[in-house]
Point group: C2
Chain length 180, copies 2
């Protein structure tokens, strides 16, 4: 069964990046034992990752070990090659989202992690998101990049579960139910 | 001890009213036993309510029994009188928020419910909100009036509790911790 999952952190006021792209607030709550808050579970559940160029470049800029254990498809009309150390891990794709999904599904990869603000909004607008796993950091940023954007129609969700991590961070899982 | 509490419902994408002021989605989840989701508890906890004119007029327009059992202070520079049946229940106030609060506190009313989108944003901007009780309806509206607005500085919160109502509606309580 095909499933596209969003797994993302936001502030209580809905931003995925603060002003000037600030991401420091993602670590505002001390996490001494490095609780992964469901990330490793997601990684074992999915077959591949689809992300936008901005997210890809942000992850690369962290300069840390590549965090993904599954193939990553990067949507970009401008990138022509990827860093050498990411060959066989990262693949550039272009075209409509449905074409991109067809290519990935043909490889037998059906459970996908969809990442990146614009990419999530694009998938959502085309009715291509099945599940949200949203982690809310207890902070109001008051500006930046919002997770959600304008929609032509409202979308009804079904609450699956809520969990509190580190006594401070709420993670809510929703299934997309109906597009009205 | 003085405390200003926000108690409000929003969509997952952060709207308190949909496009064209639509509020139908507030009742998207069937509530056969009329679970008040904490409203009556809040009413018994607070001394008075402060709301903006738009919210006041919206509640009046519902044409139902007046839902508040505590005195309601309506912030307005334009209203000059209130409907006769609300006399002794609703009081018009104007001036700075600090002046308004001083008047209410002088009456011995210290635990206040702050309501209305613009009013909440104004109180928040002046560092005058102590607690948020936010009820999230599982819907993406894709447009309308956002609960939160721009802030000069980020505001750190402390998560108090999360509860799920009707198996679908998550309510999160946060205390305002620091203004950065």
């Amino acid at each position: 069964m095909k499933k596209n999952i969003v797994f993302i952190a936001k502030s209580l006021d809905g931003y995925i990046a603060g002003k000037d792209g600030n991401l420091d607030w993602l670590h505002a709550i001390p996490n001494p034992d490095n609780d992964d808050m469901g990330f490793n579970g997601l990684m074992s559940e999915i077959d591949a990752i689809v992300m936008g160029r901005t997210t890809f470049e942000t992850v690369v800029s962290f300069g840390v070990e590549w965090p993904y254990t599954k193939p990553v498809f990067v949507l970009s009309h401008t990138l022509n090659d990827i860093p050498e150390h990411l060959e066989n891990k990262v693949f550039l794709v272009r075209g409509s989202l449905k074409e991109v999904l067809r290519i990935i599904h043909e490889k037998g990869w059906h459970t996908l992690y969809i990442d990146g603000g614009q990419t999530i909004q694009n998938f959502l607008s085309e009715g291509l998101i099945d599940e949200f796993r949203i982690t809310t950091i207890p902070i109001l940023l008051g500006g930046g990049t919002l997770l959600f954007g304008e929609l032509d129609q409202s979308i009804m969700l079904e609450h699956i579960t809520s969990k509190v991590f580190l006594n401070q961070i709420v993670q809510d899982h929703y299934r997309v139910k109906d597009i009205n």
